[in-house]
């Protein structure tokens, strides 16, 4: 009967019993209701209905009823009658391969203990049927039956019977009524519905209803793009040929071809008609193309497209709307009015950031291109996302700008950027045997460091983070050498301007070794050589020519010290050499949005590194030194180290000492200049298939021909391009398909006459790389690639021939994990012979392991 809540009477709950229980404890259900014996209760009232609702929401019961059993004075005794839903005990699937059964059970979540409801059965059935239809099994039938299972209380077992039937293919697609467009043209417009053909193996012929419906509308679009705006599909029939094949018959009505007439703009005050029609780019008399018109007004496929909507959206008109309206048609010419409601010019009000759990606000806000009080611009939002992604502190795939509180009357809008922190520090700790002993390496690289908290104990979680600075420390030691390096960089020096400050200190020590009588390596502490270096730089992002440009300056100094140790870099083993150089770099980087896998943009870099031209003002006669060196060298060559005549032996030693002195004189202050260019272009071909085009070249020169080229800073071409332990500032250039540095030319040692690989002074390299991402998750980004490369290095400018290239091709894969950096493997085939004297024929296959090299 109907009872109104208002008539509710107050009682004291005297007792509550639960009936109909099968597997649950009565106490559990009572506790769950939240009712307590002795509590006041209004009946009828909302307490009871809330309890019933709460129990229903558990989805454990198929029926819930509440009665009162008796009333004693102000006490009321209630009974709760419930019917438990049966639980699933076992699922058996028929008609599917055994190993697929588990997938099905996982997908449909048919776990043991699940409550069986009507909707569960219906959903499972629909899910499976659709799943098979999508794979082309049009006749798939799924039946589900349940039966009581006596092994448990109130359980049921389920039998899922799948009849996949035959895979249905489209035998033929017949078009009728088309005169203006060919059958082939129309078939092409059906993107996902294809008739079966033997040779087309990359797209299977399948009939999937949803795709087909979509394809039909692209068929109409195909007409619309060619001026047939009245074209429509009169009928499409589905003819079953047999169990495995169907035919599709599509009848179209093409209608007449139309042309654009006058296009007038109405409601525009910010832009002139002329400006607007320039962006629209459709002239009077052009073939009518509805798709193009729509694209030029708002291109949904390109968020940064050049269309009218973006013209307004990028310049502060968030609330603008643009509608093309056909105002009249004369014969086959259609006149348009493009009606524009500009709305109020919109300014950003609050700009906020969430999700930065490690990175401080100031690091984020200095990168944002959208700031309070600025005009709204979609373009700036896209740029901000790119800049944030480039930082590498956040997952580039998960940066979401939320437009909040848009207020068309006040013309204001808020933006919140929602970010997800991504780990970006790397730790390297390794030990290994090499060079005759144990080599230990400790490398720490923190890419979001906070220097100001370095003495703040609380900030160590595990290291002070959040100020966007980079700190890298690397120690490598073995019995024969030690390398220490420390690198710090701050991207915004002073926090006011994007001026990157960089400081690095390094010291390398190499000890002379000999083998003791037991064949072990013995270190000679008095002999050896060391390089001590300091380098500091500033790089500034500039606004001109555009704001992707960076200009960098750096100053570096190296001191080479030798103690009775000849390491082959110089022709002297005692003394020292100084190198002070200045590097100017200009680069433009617009690649993005993901740092690991850029989809578009480019990266150019030109650097010029040079030392002061000491020889111009040192007042030394280098010509004389040169001649003395040549003379001594010639004589040494004549005598040879194995001469038996005692006088010649003495002369040899004397001359060698003399030569060392001259060589040290020559290279006391190193002088050279080095110019490098590198360019990378990223082009998105189809979907996420990206082409990386790369070109680079470099040249090392000297100011004074008598001093000649320095033995440092040379180019070594070939191989994986990984810079290992090197002492001499060499540039290692990747060219896969050849052994490491194997494309570097040889030169003849004037004394010994030996062929030595001491590095090229000029090189060029070109490469094309196709990349496709397998996954771009923050935990691991993986992409596959294939490449074509060509390049070569030369001993001097006279030998340089840009067309004498060594070519290669190959495939590879890269995995980027934040904790490990980049790992990869490439297989390359070299089509030409390498630079080893006497090598002929193709170099063949090479395998390259890529570790830690960034991009």
């Amino acid at each position: 009967q109907e009872t109104s809540f208002e008539d509710g009477k107050k009682y004291i709950l005297g007792g509550l019993t639960v009936t109909g229980l099968q597997s649950y404890n009565e106490q559990t259900v009572v506790t769950y209701t939240g009712l307590r014996v002795g509590q006041p209760i209004t009946i009828p009232g909302d307490e009871i209905s809330a309890v019933i609702k709460k129990l229903w929401s558990l989805e454990l019961f198929s029926n819930v009823d509440m009665f009162y059993t008796k009333i004693e004075g102000d006490k009321i005794f209630l009974e709760l009658n419930i019917t438990e839903r049966p639980t699933l005990s076992k699922v058996t699937v028929f008609g599917v391969k055994k190993r697929k059964v588990e997938d099905i059970i996982n997908d449909t979540d048919l776990k043991k203990g699940k409550k069986i409801t009507e909707s569960l059965i219906a959903n499972t059935k629909n899910y499976l049927q659709n799943k098979y239809k999508k794979q082309g099994y049009l006749n798939a039938k799924v039946t589900i039956a349940t039966a009581a299972d006596t092994t448990g209380t109130n359980t049921q077992s389920m039998v899922v019977n799948v009849k996949k039937g035959d895979k249905v293919k489209i035998r033929d697609i017949v078009f009728e009524g088309n005169e203006k467009l060919s059958d082939k043209r129309l078939a092409k417009s059906l993107k996902n519905t294809k008739k079966k053909k033997l040779y087309r193996f990359w797209k299977k012929s399948k009939y999937i209803e949803d795709d087909y419906k979509e394809d039909l509308s692209s068929l109409v679009d195909a007409y619309a793009e060619r001026g047939y705006r009245d074209a429509r599909i009169l009928s499409d029939t589905f003819v079953k040929v047999n169990d495995k094949n169907i035919d599709l018959k599509i009848t179209v009505e093409e209608g007449d071809k139309y042309y654009f007439g006058d296009i007038n703009f109405v409601g525009n005050s910010v832009y002139t008609d002329r400006q607007l029609s320039q962006v629209l780019g459709i002239r009077k008399g052009a073939t009518y193309n509805g798709v193009l018109l729509k694209e030029r007004i708002a291109d949904d496929s390109k968020p940064d497209g050049q269309d009218l909507t973006n013209l307004y959206q990028n310049n502060g008109y968030l609330f603008s709307s643009i509608n093309p309206v056909e105002v009249s048609a004369v014969n086959d010419t259609i006149n348009f009015e493009i009606r524009i409601i500009e709305g109020k010019e919109t300014f950003l009000n609050h700009v906020t950031v969430t999700g930065n759990d490690k990175t401080n606000d100031h690091v984020v806000f200095r990168e944002l291109r959208t700031r309070p009080g600025q005009r709204y611009s979609k373009d700036n939002i896209v740029r901000s996302i790119r800049e944030l992604g480039q930082l590498g502190f956040f997952d580039a795939e998960q940066i979401v700008p939320d437009i909040i509180n848009p207020d068309p009357n006040a013309g204001t809008v808020d933006i919140n950027y929602s970010l997800v922190e991504a780990g970006s520090s790397q730790i390297e700790l390794q030990g290994g045997f090499g060079g005759g002993g144990f080599i230990g390496t400790l490398g720490l690289s923190f890419s979001n460091f906070s220097l100001k908290n370095i003495f703040n104990g609380e900030a160590y979680k595990p290291v002070p983070m959040g100020d966007g600075q980079t700190m890298a420390l690397r120690l490598q030691a073995s019995r024969t050498f030690r390398v220490y390096s420390l690198n710090f960089s701050e991207p915004w020096l002073g926090g006011k301007k994007p001026v990157r400050f960089n400081l690095s200190l390094s010291r390398t020590q190499q000890f002379a070794t000999s083998f003791d009588d037991r064949g072990r390596i013995d270190r000679d502490p008095d002999r050896g050589f060391s390089i001590t270096g300091i380098s500091t730089g500033l790089a500034k992002r500039v606004q001109w020519p555009d704001d992707y440009f960076t200009i960098s300056h750096s100053l570096s100094y190296q001191l080479y010290q030798f103690d009775d140790f000849n390491n082959g870099l110089f022709n002297f083993g005692n003394g020292s050499s100084n190198s002070l150089s200045y590097t100017l770099g200009i680069s433009r980087s617009s690649q993005g949005p993901n740092r690991i896998f850029p989809l578009s943009g480019s990266n150019f870099e030109v650097t010029a590194k040079f030392t002061p031209p000491y020889s111009l003002f040192r007042g030394k006669d280098f010509k004389q030194i040169r001649e003395d060196i040549d003379e001594a060298t010639d004589r040494l060559f004549e005598i040879g180290p194995n001469s038996t005549s005692p006088s010649e032996q003495i002369e040899f030693v004397e001359l060698s000492d003399e030569l060392e002195r001259l060589e040290e004189e020559r290279f006391k202050l190193l002088e050279f200049y080095k110019i490098k260019f590198k360019g990378d272009w990223y082009t998105q071909l189809v979907g996420k298939l990206v082409l990386r085009t790369n070109a680079e070249l470099g040249f090392l020169g000297s100011y004074n021909n008598d001093i000649g080229d320095v033995p440092f800073e040379r180019f070594f071409v070939g191989g994986d391009g990984l810079g290992n332990f090197t002492l001499d500032g060499r540039d290692i250039i990747q060219l896969r398909g050849y052994e490491n540095s194997s494309l570097t030319p040889f030169s003849t040692n004037p004394i010994t006459g030996n062929q030595e690989r001491d590095g090229g002074t000029i090189y060029n390299k070109f490469s094309l790389e196709l990349r496709y991402p397998l996954t771009l998750k923050p935990s691991a980004s993986i992409y596959a690639l294939s490449f074509l490369e060509a390049g070569n290095a030369f001993n001097n400018f006279n030998e340089y021939n840009p067309f004498e290239l060594k070519r290669s091709a190959g495939v590879g894969i890269r995995i980027f994990m934040p904790a490990f950096g980049l790992l990869g493997i490439d297989f390359g085939y070299g089509f030409d012979s390498d630079a080893t004297p006497g090598a002929v024929g193709p170099n063949g296959w090479e395998t390259h392991f890529i570790i830690g090299q960034q991009f």
């Binding site: 506790t31 009000n349 759990d357 490690k358 401080n360 100031h362 200095r366 009080g373 959040g466 301007k497």
Partner: protein, 255 residues
């Protein structure tokens, strides 16, 4: 093998319950927590469940694992809304989020959560013994959020000294700060920095907007002095105002 290890591996619930209670009373929350963790699911729906769940949540709190204590107290409140411990649980739940609140320059989602919980605690239990503490915590968190907002605005002011258009953003950000946080302790600072931004912007403006902007800068100065006549920024503000007035004087002379 200690008694604890034995009981930990034991399947039986009762010894665990007793031992957990013992550890809890002794203040060994780490062991108590391990035991409670095992038995909490077994007591769901049972009369002792309420007790177990509260202690379980509290062990996390005592162990300073505030993520889990916040979550467990939340569960407790939801499961036993009529418990005697509800006031304490609500307070400790709110305090857990308070402890989670990070420094001002990071995401303040947990701060917001803590503030909502503290506010609702303050409203529900105005006579609570924790009232004072809750109020202090709420105040601290509120000023932390204000600090966040003003520091961002100040950053715009800083960036703007080299890139003048950013000063417009600084001014908007200070205006937003002043209107969003009426009673803030940073209000005076915001009013002063607004003068700094407005002055720099005005002095570096193009001729056609200069006068208007100079006047706006002067307005900011007047606002600061109206609200805080004895402001600590007086000297600096006066200097800025003098510059502005000097520039403005040229306009009155030329016209």
């Amino acid at each position: 093998c200690s008694e604890y290890q034995k009981v930990l591996k034991n399947e039986e619930v009762k010894p665990k319950y007793d031992l957990a209670q013992k550890f809890y009373d002794e203040g060994d929350f780490k062991r108590a927590n391990r035991l409670y963790e095992q038995i909490v699911p077994k007591y769901v729906g049972k009369p002792q469940g309420e007790r177990v769940m509260f202690f379980f949540a509290n062990t996390y709190f005592q162990l300073e694992d505030y993520y889990l204590s916040g979550y467990q107290f939340e569960r407790f409140i939801k499961s036993y809304p009529k418990s005697d411990k509800i006031q304490e649980a609500t307070f400790l739940g709110a305090k857990s989020y308070y402890e989670l609140s990070p420094r001002y320059s990071l995401d303040q989602t947990d701060t917001d959560k803590a503030l909502t919980k503290l506010q609702s605690f303050i409203n529900t239990y105005p006579d609570s013994e924790y009232f004072e503490e809750s109020n202090t915590m709420a105040k601290e968190l509120t000023s932390k959020k204000e600090k966040k907002q003003i520091e961002i605005a100040k950053q715009f002011n800083k960036l703007g000294q080299f890139n003048y258009p950013i000063l417009v953003s600084a001014i908007t950000a200070f205006d937003n700060f002043i209107s969003d946080n009426p009673g803030s302790i940073y209000r005076e600072e915001a009013l002063y920095y607004r003068i700094e931004s407005a002055t720099s912007l005005a002095l570096n403006s193009t001729e056609n907007r200069k006068k208007e902007r100079l006047e706006e800068a002067l307005d900011s100065y007047n606002t600061l002095l109206r609200y805080y006549p004895e402001t600590e920024y007086k000297k600096k503000a006066d200097d800025l105002a003098k510059k502005v007035q000097g520039e403005l004087a040229q306009y009155s002379e030329s016209k």
